[in-house]
Symmetry: C2
Subunit: 214 residues, 2 copies
DNA sequence: AGCCCTGATTGATATATATCAATAAATAAT
DNA sequence: ATTATTTATTGATATATATCAATCAGGGCT
């Protein structure tokens, strides 16, 4: 059972009236997690529709060498792994918290019956699914289509926070080793595309970087 | 304007009555393509909800070296690129026919207004979107998580038609060169996992192959 | 200050796969 | 059936990136 006021704040449910929110509250519950905790593992049974409410959650696959391939890094109030729940299949990837966080878990069978037929909810659900597709297409574009140099260029151009991240974490996200990332940064610095300021870098020539991945 | 009988045969519309089919026909049209023709290019404006009705259609991205990364190979009556149409964004990938084929193009604005609010259609649309997600997750699992040997093993275990495909096409789909594919086949043949029969191979030891990718 | 400890850098080497080039086999065309 | 054309195989080499190993910061902590 979940606090109604918190549900009201979630864009997904913004068009629900008080009565509907009340009903939603009876089929949902809140769970808190600390940094590092795992929300679910790949191949676990998917049982609840899960909504991330606080914190950063990464969704990843593990390859045979135990490298993580990060598919998503969710930071906003967003549905997580709704595909698996909708299809009734096991989770295709694992999810772990990078910070303290919390989720709301909703009984999907009941949610489907009572809410998913409403056009507003259905459209929010469409939107959520299409966002996931866009995100996965980006992962593919980033990791399969581009080489290491282009991946780094693209990522630091499109994500301001990238240069503030710890390099080993960024390397993991870009699916390369910290050594390779370090060498790419060095190359960019030598070319004057970025510049070392303190212990971090800043972008100096975004246009030049952009050419590298387009 | 589209033939109603053909629309009736598409699972997507199986629950529509004659009147609705008639309406749908007025907002859709059929287009035929020959082998090799391009349905749309990456970055083209997406304007119609597109349904593949005949033929094999591949959806792919092109990397800087002009390699194609195949995201989907559609062979059944299925929606194509509905994400882009729904989001109103340009196509994130290109699509070309591998055989002669045909599609039905539906005016999405009108479709959304008149059909997408109906629960049956909405659920078919959900299903289509979740299938796309599953497919993209598989592409990632195949191409980023696994190495060449494991990719081939997985693909020939899970797709009977794989060994009938032309090797250069299969190599492209598995995102490797024909040379690498040839060497992997040779290795599998030497290990007795597959066997050459005429100009093609057959699987001899599926269990052994399965171990390679799990 | 000095001491840890995690993270970053650098160099040397290994490895998988691509590329290039030559040939062989299979399929299609005459 | 013979030729032409596409596709597959094989070997030699190149290349990008991983791996391993050593050293080098920077940021807390006592």
């Amino acid at each position: 059972m979940q606090d109604i006021n918190e549900l009201r704040d979630i864009t997904f449910f913004e068009n629900l009236n008080s009565e509907e929110l009340e009903q939603l509250a009876t089929i949902s519950r809140k769970r808190k997690f600390s940094k590092g905790e795992v929300l679910f593992y790949e191949k676990d049974e998917s049982r609840f529709l899960t909504l991330l409410t606080e914190g950063i959650l990464k969704v990843y696959k593990t390859d045979p060498k135990n490298n993580e391939i990060v598919l998503h890094r969710f930071q906003y109030k967003t549905l997580v792994a709704e595909m698996a729940v909708f299809e009734g299949i096991p989770y295709p990837a694992s999810a772990a918290f990078e910070t303290d966080g919390s989720v709301i878990e909703i009984d999907f069978i009941k949610f489907k019956k009572s809410f998913l037929y409403s056009p507003d909810i259905a459209f929010a659900f469409f939107k959520s699914l299409t966002q996931k597709i866009k995100c996965l297409e980006d992962v593919i574009a980033l990791n399969i289509v581009l080489d290491s140099t282009a991946r780094v260029a693209k990522y630091i151009c499109e994500n301001q926070e990238a240069l503030q991240m710890k390099h080993n974490q960024l390397a993991q996200y870009l699916h390369m080793t910290p050594e390779t990332l370090s060498r790419v940064f060095k190359k960019f610095a030598k070319l004057g595309f970025i510049e070392k300021v303190g212990s971090s870098y800043i972008v100096k020539d975004k246009d030049a970087l952009t050419i590298l991945f387009e």
